[in-house]
């Protein structure tokens, strides 16, 4: 396992636009929360105890062959900008930025598998990939969980399963989360209805940037509400079934728009491109909204100046930390928005 700085330009696997149902499901993320039975949870632990946990977990991972080529990032020593880049790559959660003391993440170069240490729970193992394929991801993560659980004593009881800092995660400790792009449902104003139906199937909704953010660019994160009372595979099946329904509704909406309002859609897509190609200042929210229209344009055969994969790459590169790292300086929000617009103009000209 190595410790190194973060490289710009490598696109995480979850943005490669190759996965199943990738026209609607951008990525799937599966995580398991685990704690060590012989330490207090991070929120209640002393600094020394957090350090002990951090070292014990790293030591255990070093003894598992699968982690040999992984890189470890200790947030206590990592520069703020690098921390934020890992959050933008969805390797670390925004919450990991704010907690104090020894904490960090261990990740592979494709950003497909990572283990956060000392966030809300001692361990948060995660697998994240493009498209909709939670079953194979679960098999992979389950094997990782078993190998770590052989080396470390997990907090577990037969009745309540894996014990977590927040009881909302207790039981399986699992959350399966799909990042979906639903512009068809947003444009036909049926998204609320469809998401209400999903809620009835035990699936809850968040925005692109997680629990504390609003909805931008018709991107939604859908995940299982419950984590206890059913087996992991059954939870995956339930959410998968809700996602299948949503994907079907979104495809239907897109067809309806292409059939009834193709001219309006073309106008919307090319106007979005017009702003992207000429704007001199762009916020993240505005860029995501515009790129949402372009994404729909690409998938509807209206727009072919870029591929979805390239659009994904640009999207990551213009997020605040990546942009500042690329330009080699920290800036205020206004400057970031100006630089973003300049960068987007250049990238779309290539």
């Amino acid at each position: 396992m190595s410790v190194s700085a973060i490289k710009i330009g490598e696109v995480p696997a979850w943005l490669d636009a190759k996965g199943p149902d990738g026209d609607i499901v951008v990525s799937t993320r599966l995580r398991l929360a685990r704690n060590l039975s012989n330490h207090r949870f991070p929120v209640a632990a002393s600094q020394q105890e957090r350090k002990d946990v951090f070292e014990e977990v790293l030591d255990a991972l070093k003894r598992i062959e699968r982690f040999h080529n992984f890189t470890s990032y200790n947030f206590r020593r990592l520069p703020r900008l690098d921390q934020q880049m890992l959050v933008e790559e969805r390797v670390a959660s925004p919450d990991l930025l704010d907690v104090e003391g020894e904490r960090g993440v261990v990740s592979d170069s494709a950003r497909r598998i990572n283990v956060m240490i000392n966030e809300e729970d001692h361990l948060r193992m995660q697998c994240i990939d493009s498209g909709c394929g939670p079953e194979s991801m679960f098999d992979m993560l389950d094997a990782i969980d078993t190998s770590i659980g052989d080396k470390l004593p997990f907090a577990y009881d037969v009745k309540r399963g894996f014990l977590t800092s927040c009881p909302t995660n207790a039981g399986t400790g699992m959350r399966v989360s799909y990042l979906v792009h639903l512009p068809g449902l947003v444009l036909t104003k049926t998204v609320d209805q469809v998401l209400q139906a999903a809620a009835q199937m035990g699936v809850c909704t968040r925005g692109f940037f997680g629990e504390h953010a609003g909805i931008v660019g018709a991107f939604f994160q859908l995940s299982n509400q419950a984590a206890l009372g059913t087996g992991e595979k059954e939870f995956i099946k339930q959410t998968r079934s809700a996602i299948r329904t949503i994907v079907g509704c979104e495809r239907e909406s897109r067809e309806k728009i292409m059939h009834n309002a193709k001219a309006e859609l073309e106008d919307k897509v090319w106007r979005a491109y017009g702003i992207i190609a000429y704007a001199t200042t762009l916020s993240v929210g505005e860029f995501l909204n515009l790129s949402s229209a372009l994404r729909l344009g690409i998938e509807s055969g209206i727009f072919n100046k870029v591929t979805v994969r390239r659009l994904n790459r640009i999207m990551l590169l213009v997020l605040p930390a990546h942009l500042q790292a690329f330009l080699g300086r920290t800036m205020n929000d206004d400057d970031i928005n100006r630089e973003r617009a300049g960068m987007v103009r250049t990238l779309f000209k290539e």
Binding site: N38, F41, C166
Partner: protein, 173 residues
Amino acid sequence: MKKCDQCGMQPANIHVTHIVNGETTMLHMCEECAQKKGINISINVDAPLQIDHPAEGPPAVDTQCPACKLKLSEFRSKGRLGCASCYAAFEQEIDAVLVQVHGAREHKGKQYKGRHKVLPCDAEMDISELRKKLDAAIRNEEFEVAADLRDTISRMAGRGNAARKSEILSTKS
């Protein structure tokens, strides 16, 4: 699918859990009957996941977790537990939350087969207490548990228990 408790005709796709004074009752209704009862099923997509604690205000007896010393009132205000032992210390309260969030209170997923058995959080226990537990584990032939306890005791002894205690106290202030 289960039929609606109210009309007995339509499939029940709305499930409401009432928790009053620790007593849990479930209502299964169809959308129409739920709306008649004034239950709003629309969701706010911006809303973060929240725990509505079944009991509001300070608890009558502010129970404390024997291992990590977290108080029930602190769990109520922050929604976070301090260690694995809190689950036993606040059993009733946690069970109510589990039913509210998951609609269940019993784990049916992966069984943990790690070589370690569950131990209470020993962070604040004295070495003498841990030694007693070690003796008991050996008497009961729970050798895996004994091995974990032995490792914990040697780790604590190595670092100096007194120094550790003072550090724990200082982080609490």
